[in-house]
């Protein structure tokens, strides 16, 4: 397994290089003059030209690209065109918040989604099964933006039980976690249910029941673990999606996160920040995939890693 992990980590380099190159050329193809966007609509021609020179944006794109390659080989992402702050500082200020949000939302989806899915599979075609699956459809259909505002209105404005903005304490984490985690929870619940139903049909489960084992033992010792492979896949993918797509939640709850930083950097043509942010998300994505693969091996020892 160690060999497998090392091989995957080494693949990080070409993967991230490809992603960075594609992103570099894509953002340079977006219409708009970055110097003008940064200087603003009240800037004179001279102001804009000066800014363009100062930021190195007057150089040909190939020169800019090779300068960029040289810098990232030294893990130097340069400075934000907008704030003149080091990109690494800008990202590192925000990345932990996005990571924390994605992690707590993922944990929420596991702790809530899996039990609901298991319960629904045991009570198949009952009213409770119907309610839980309807709930999951709602969870997948509700726009997270809308859900977040509704939760703020109920819990922060009306009941005043929880704060509506910020991300400093445990209380602050609750509403953003539920908002971001609702889709994943619904998906995990549905995936768990269908996977459990498949597993519960297997002969070894029948044999276990015939042996007189308790429901708990059948479920938790035999069925659940074997049902988790597709669920782990979904959870891993969901975590990566949350990392990249959290900017709506960050805006609603005023969380200083990576999502909004990257979105705004794209709008403001702040190329170094876009590059740095995408680089970090790509690396995280690859690492999460490795962890999912390791989880597979743990859940099903039949899965072996070929070196």
């Amino acid at each position: 397994m160690l060999g497998y992990v090392i091989k995957k980590l080494l693949l990080l380099v070409p993967i991230v290089l490809c992603v960075s190159t594609v992103v570099f050329f894509m953002i340079h193809l977006i219409p708009g003059d970055p110097a003008h966007v940064l200087a603003g609509p009240q800037a004179t021609r001279e102001d804009i030209e000066n800014l363009r020179r100062q930021l190195g944006l007057d150089k040909p794109i190939w020169v800019q690209y090779f300068t960029f390659l040289k810098k990232i080989s030294q893990l130097d992402f340069g400075r934000s065109l907008r704030t003149d702050e080091k990109v690494i500082v800008e990202i590192w200020d925000r990345y932990p918040n996005t990571l924390r949000l994605a992690f707590s939302a993922t944990l929420f989806s596991i702790l809530v989604g899996i039990p609901i899915g298991v319960f629904a599979s045991l009570k198949k075609n009952s009213i409770l099964d119907g309610l839980s699956m309807t709930g999951s459809i709602l969870g997948m259909s509700m726009p997270d933006f809308w859900l977040g505002l509704i939760l703020i209105y109920i819990f922060a404005v009306k009941l005043k039980w929880l704060p509506g903005i910020g991300f400093d304490t445990f209380k602050h984490i609750v509403l953003p976690t539920i908002t971001l985690g609702s889709f994943a929870t619904a998906y995990v619940a549905r995936m768990t249910r269908s996977s459990m139903l498949e597993t519960l049909k297997q002969d070894y489960i029948l044999a276990a029941k015939a042996k007189g084992l308790s429901l708990g033992t059948v479920l938790f010792k035999h069925a659940l673990k074997n049902s988790m492979i597709p669920v782990v896949t979904v959870v891993g993918l969901g975590f990566s999606v949350m990392l990249a797509g959290s900017f709506v939640i960050e805006t609603v709850f005023v969380i200083n996160g990576l999502g909004w930083l990257i979105v705004r950097a794209i709008l403001m043509r702040d190329f170094p920040v876009v590059q740095g942010g995408i680089f970090l998300i790509s690396c995280t994505f690859v690492i999460v995939n490795i962890l999912v693969d390791i989880a597979y091996a743990y859940l099903d020892p039949r899965i072996k890693f070929k070196d």
Partner: protein, 514 residues
Amino acid sequence: MGKKSVFLMLIFSLTLAISANALSKELRVNQGTATILFMDPHKERSSTGLNFLFSTIYDSLLTHGKNMEIEPMLATSWKSSEGGTVWTFTLRKGVRFHDGTPFDADAVKFNVERVLDPQTKAVRGTYFASLIKSVEVIDPYTVKITLKFPYAPFAPALTMPDIAMVSPTAAKKYGTDFSTRPTGTGPFILKEWKREKHILLERNPNYWKGIPKTEVIRVSQIREESTIYAALKSGEIDVEIIPPPEFLKDFERDPNFVVTRGGPKLFYEYYGFNNERPPFNDKKVRKAVSHAINNEGIVKLVDMDYGKLICQPLGPTVWGYDPSMKCIEHNPEKAKRMLAEIGWMPGPDGILEKDGKKFVIYANIIDRQERRFEVIQNDLKKVGIDLRLQKLEWGAFLSACVKGEFDIFNLGRDYKSGDADVELYGLFHSSNIPYINMARYRNPEVDKLLEKQRMETDKEKRLKLIHEIIHRIMDDVPLIPSLIRMTNTITNKKVKNFYIYPDDRMDLLDVAVD
């Protein structure tokens, strides 16, 4: 855990809660419309960011009063001589920067030269460099600034926060990091800055004007309107300085809040024509279309309490404003007649045609402009003009406007000097095509008048020149002035004496939280 321990824990928690409330003399203001990038007034680009810095951490040599009259600030008096090319300032004594550095003539010289230095990359660097020749220290509290030419509105230019005074010691010590370690002479000192999250300021006990009543100000940066609403209602913020107009009536009905509907700001908006390409390269077409658009209706119904109608490219608080200027009359019949006189006749589908070409025009629009332009589309359809909307993202919008790929657009302007020169020169002098002068207006006579007025040191003569410029411009109709934004605020009722000047500076000296 024993009962005694539980009891002690309860008492401890209660004490913490009570003491937290007793200690919190904190004013919580939201300012979400623009992110502050630099806590350095010479480098900060956003107008809202500058307003914030200028209200809290920094002072300038001069400032505006409540009626936009020029008032002393760090300079107590000033005079111009030698035909308006030399300006001498007497400085306020006994003022210190937050780090203890004395404020004196050397500090002023340092600041002016810092703005002029290309290495600083000051936002208004090129503007001030075009005016200022040299700065000279006469004595510790007298400084002389020599201009390259007699620039009549130099005093208003010095009210701009872009040339506020920073501590020379701190600027030299921290270099490019100064923007995260701001040091001014203002009523508040930076305590903590978490970018795009909050800014924490504590009062300056040595402020030259007096000790601010509020001990701490927490500035949050909530962008999302619904979240702002919730934060106000839940008490997480006390003041919203630029509330969406939809909020005002709701909060007026809530006895826990005070809605202040203030006067006009400096910020105004306009619809610009593309004066360089058909059909709007023809003045008659521009005039006709101006009569077709019900600007007053749009301001009342679409913009609601956001702003008030204006009839010229200056706000009423700007020096040079002409109160006699009348708005373009909304008269669709007149618009049709004018267009018919120059050959635009209705086709079979009702759209005007001339020489086989239909009257189809394009508007570049950005987020939140859809409603206005839908009304304009309707107005123009009534006179036979087909207006098509092109919604663009901000960067693409700017690029398209600079390239002239539009017929109409909608933008705003906001310069803090409070003088007509910067407003008019920027927007209408042909040297600024196609950047600030995106409408591509070119009139050599207006150019000459604009150049002349800035050197006219006689106030009455200058005012006459400016009024003549405004009338000539509005006769050419290169753009349609739309609205002037109003200073509306929402404050929790426990906040007292919160005031915003027309130039968006907040008066935080006397504000208190009950």
